[in-house]
């Protein structure tokens, strides 16, 4: 257990999911700093802006697939090009409602994705992932 609690980023266009997830993380005391992005584009911008300040970079990213504008896959594609410049090891989990096997396989084949988590995500699941 690090003395400093991890920074968690939630990338999802579903506002209710954002709220519920943040509530759960806070109530479990998993993190004191939760970053929330409505789509991939916003998240990418944040990462780019904080390349020089790795202490602001998230330790975990919970990434939705289906988002308007820049979806999860597009985020991962861009992330792959910039990750070497990020001075931090970020663990990315895909969080989606899609039970489409093509999505699951695609996520498993992506080396930057730690795991594919099906919604809804329970508090216990968050604890397990962040622990």
């Amino acid at each position: 257990m690090t003395t400093k609690s991890p920074i968690i980023a939630l990338v999802d266009d579903d506002k209710i999911f954002q709220l519920m997830s943040a509530k759960m993380i806070e109530s479990l005391d998993l993190s004191h700093r939760i970053l929330q992005f409505g789509n991939g584009e916003e998240a990418l911008h944040y990462l780019k802006d904080n390349i020089t300040t790795p202490e602001n970079l998230p330790d975990f990213i919970f990434l939705d697939i289906n988002m308007p504008y820049v979806d999860g896959w597009m985020f991962l594609a861009d992330y792959a090009t910039m990750k070497s410049n990020l001075n931090k090891q970020i663990r990315i989990f895909m969080i989606s409602s899609s039970i489409d096997s093509r999505d699951i396989i695609r996520a498993q084949n992506n080396s930057d994705v730690r795991d594919y988590i099906l919604k809804p995500v329970t508090p216990e699941k968050f604890r397990e992932l962040v622990a």
């Binding site: 209710i16 308007p68 409602s97 809804p120």
Partner: protein, 786 residues
């Protein structure tokens, strides 16, 4: 003949044995004149000795005319002492009539001359049997010379006499034959080596007695090739004392060889060894020649018969029997002559196939030289049917001139028959094949048609009569004739395509293939014509069908993609709000603050509403998918578009957009009205929505035709979109590419489904900050029309 000679030689051997014993016990008469008693006694003794030698003693007292006979004499004469009257008269009566005179004469001679009495004569025994006896006697006289007694012996010499007689006969016979038939008689003495020849030797052999008086000179004259054999046979005959009979070539004085027939016998001496060879040599050259001719002619006949390919036979029509058949019958049907003969008049029924009996020619009074032939099956001994071909002609006729016997030759033609049958069959097969063939078949000799089938007539339009005998090249388009002729001459055997000409002059696609074959002794060509017009059409159809199948495959794949997408939509878009609802409910359960609860409740409402909206949207899409047979009508683009334009006129006015439309190039379409409205509405609002914020938008709509397809183009000068980045998402449900408040992403997905349900296609061209153009091809996929 030789057997009889053997007998003779045996008898002779017997005789010789007797002769020896006779000599050893020669009769000795006591000559004591006055002592009769002593004489009687000595006679008794002698008689005992002579008994064993089967020799009898007799004593005849002339003065008293009383005769005494020993027991053996009685045995010889077949008399007994009891019936004997003691007179010479008794014996005289038993003497053979023919010999009585001779006997009286000999007795008289003996009395007169005092010569030793020696007589061989025949007697007739009491039982009637004729025997030869030999009587030896001596006359006893007183001082005055008067005959007092006569004493002697008697012996049965029948056996000896007969064999002597036979020998005499034999010799006489040979001499007789020798005299009449250029024969020489020889008598060869084995001890001296000398040969005595009969008088005809000079006439027959050309030599005189002196030139051939020894065995060596004779031997040298035997032909060298025959000599060894002759000497060997003589040696055998000599050892076995057997007669010999041989033929050999003999050199005459004139140096020419004659064929001689040499027959003879060896005579044995008392020791049983050959000492004489008696025989005859006859010139049989003429006979040999005849025999040779005969043998030659027989051989000729036999070889003729066996060389003949079939059975030669003579058949009696009345008796219904085979009266002659040559050896070939055995080879032909397995039976020999005896078996055929044994069948008698069952011959025909036994051997000829019942079905073929009627084929056997009938004869009456046909003129000579009439030949009747027939083919029929004959059952062989091994129970196999073989075909024969016979040719018969008259052999014998009765007084009325009716044929009674026929002579003929029957040949085995089974192989020919089988080949014929095969030929007939293969020809029939060929014709069947020809007629059964859908193509036209022509037999031709370098183009000139010899024969053809109905198919060729059908294809070319010419009748069979018009085709046969004519140049088949005329059936080919002129530009191909050189190729066809070249293929005929080179024997090309693969099918190739040319152009044919019908009788009416029209051309057609033709495939021809030929093959050179031997036919009735000629090498001709079979060519098959195949009208491939239909095939070409079918090929075309297949290609079209293929294209259609490919289209269907693409369409199916498209449908499949849509279905998968729909599944994903259902999975994602329904799971998301319901997942949220679940989370919210969990929180509500644990929440204590009223404020929090109220907040959660509002979220719950929103999520529920989202889920409902999504359900409605999906329902909408499902309707489209299910409603493929939605009613279509003839629509004017202009009319429909103006209605839609009115619907969104507020928005157009709001952003001062300029909307231009030109549907003149394709003014109408048969399409569901609501779909066309939906397409116009969504594309128009889409263009207005993504306008550049700082400029008045220009929206241009037009229709036109691309080949048969009707295309609608909707072009704006709005924000545009990076297709490389977002192209894959454009027509997906709930995808928005702009952070625009009204973006819900339902419109493009909806119209895409509508367009595709009607067999059309929607595509997009766009550049960021330049604008976007949508293309709708209403008729892209024809397969679902009608």
């Amino acid at each position: 003949m030789s057997a009889r000679k053997k007998k003779v030689s045996k008898k002779r051997a017997k005789k010789d044995g007797r002769a020896r014993s006779k000599k050893a016990k020669a009769p000795v008469a006591s000559t004591h004149q006055n002592t009769l008693k002593a004489l009687h006694e000595s006679q008794k003794r002698l008689s005992l000795a002579l008994n064993s030698a089967h020799m009898g003693i007799w004593d005849w007292n002339i003065k008293t005319n009383s005769l005494w006979l020993s027991d053996t004499v009685h045995k010889i004469f077949g008399t007994s002492k009891r019936t004997f009257d003691g007179t010479m008269e008794f014996l005289r009566k038993l003497t053979h009539e023919e010999d009585q005179k001779m006997l009286s004469e000999e007795i008289r001679k003996a009395f007169e001359t005092d010569k030793k009495y020696f007589v061989q004569h025949r007697i007739k025994k009491a039982n009637g049997e004729i025997r030869w006896i030999e009587v030896v006697g001596k006359v006893f006289r007183n001082r005055k010379g008067k005959v007092l007694r006569m004493v002697g012996s008697v012996q049965d010499i029948t056996e000896i006499k007969l064999s002597n007689q036979e020998r005499k006969d034999w010799e006489a016979r040979y001499k007789l034959i020798a005299a009449s038939a250029s024969q020489v008689v020889y008598d060869y003495n084995l001890k001296t080596g000398k040969i005595q020849w009969s008088g005809t030797i000079q006439e027959v052999l050309g030599y005189n007695q002196q030139e051939m008086n020894d065995i060596n000179s004779w031997e040298k004259l035997i032909h060298r090739d025959d000599r060894k054999k002759v000497m060997a046979r003589l040696e055998i005959a000599m050892q076995g004392l057997r007669p010999f009979d041989m033929k050999y070539r003999f050199k005459t004085k004139s140096k020419s060889y004659i064929h001689v027939h040499d027959k003879g016998i060896f005579l044995a001496n008392e020791e049983g060894q050959a000492y004489r060879m008696l025989g005859t040599m006859q010139d049989i050259s003429d006979k040999i020649q005849i025999e040779e001719d005969l043998i030659e002619s027989n051989r000729f006949k036999e070889s003729m018969e066996s060389a003949m390919p079939g059975m030669l036979y003579v058949y009696d029509l009345k008796k219904q029997v085979i009266i002659y058949v040559n050896h070939n019958i055995t080879r032909a049907i397995g039976y020999d002559w005896e078996e055929i003969e044994g069948m008698g008049n069952n011959f025909l029924h036994n051997l000829i196939h019942p079905e073929d009996l009627s084929r056997i020619p009938r004869w009456s009074n046909e003129p000579s030289r009439t030949v009747k032939s027939a083919e029929y099956r004959v059952r062989t001994k091994s129970d196999e049917w073989r075909w024969f071909y016979s040719r018969d002609t008259a052999f014998q006729r009765d007084q009325k001139g009716n044929v009674t016997q026929i002579i003929g030759i029957a040949q085995d033609i089974t192989d020919r028959k089988m080949i014929e049958a095969e030929l007939v069959e293969s020809e029939a097969r060929f014709r069947t094949l020809q007629e059964a063939s859908f193509g036209g078949i022509g037999l031709h000799d370098k183009g000139i048609i010899i024969d053809c089938n109905q198919g060729l007539s059908a294809i070319t339009g010419y009748s069979r009569e018009e085709l046969v005998g004519n140049d088949g090249l005329k059936l080919i388009a002129p530009e191909y004739r050189e190729l066809v002729m070249h293929n005929i001459l080179s024997g090309y055997e693969k099918p190739y395509d040319v152009e044919g000409i019908h009788k009416d002059g029209t051309h057609y696609s033709l495939e021809i293939s030929g093959k050179n074959i031997p036919y009735k002794g000629r090498d001709i060509r079979v060519t098959e014509f195949r009208d491939i017009t239909n095939r070409k059409l079918i090929e075309q159809k297949i290609l079209e069908q293929n294209a259609r199948l490919q289209a269907i495959t693409i369409d199916l794949k498209r449908k499949n993609d849509q279905l998968e997408e729909f599944t994903q939509i259902v999975s994602h878009n329904l799971r998301s709000p319901i997942g949220n609802i679940l989370s919210l409910l969990t929180f509500m359960e644990t929440s204590t603050s009223e404020e929090d609860k109220a907040q959660l409740m509002s979220y719950l409402k929103e999520s529920t509403s989202n889920a409902l909206t999504t359900l409605e949207e999906l329902n909408e899409v499902l309707k489209i998918k299910q409603n493929r047979n939605i009613e279509k009508q003839l629509l004017e683009f202009d009319k429909v578009f103006n209605q839609v334009r009115t619907m969104v006129s507020a928005k157009i006015a709001e952003c001062s957009a300029e909307v231009k439309s030109d549907f003149s190039k394709a003014p109408t379409i048969v399409y569901p009205n609501i779909y066309l409205e939906s397409i116009f509405l969504n594309l128009l609002t889409n263009a207005l929505k993504y306008r550049k914020p700082d400029q008045k938008p220009l929206i241009e709509l037009r229709t036109y035709r691309d080949k048969k397809d009707i295309i609608l183009e909707v072009k704006d000068d709005g924000l545009g979109i990076n297709l490389d980045r977002y192209g894959h998402q454009i027509f997906k449900l709930q995808k928005t590419f702009h952070k625009h408040p009204e973006s819900r992403g339902i419109g493009l997905f909806m119209i895409k489904n509508q367009i595709e349900a009607m067999g059309g296609e929607i595509s997009i061209k766009s550049k960021e900050n330049i604008g976007t153009t949508f293309f709708i091809n209403f008729n892209k996929h024809h397969t679902h029309d009608d």
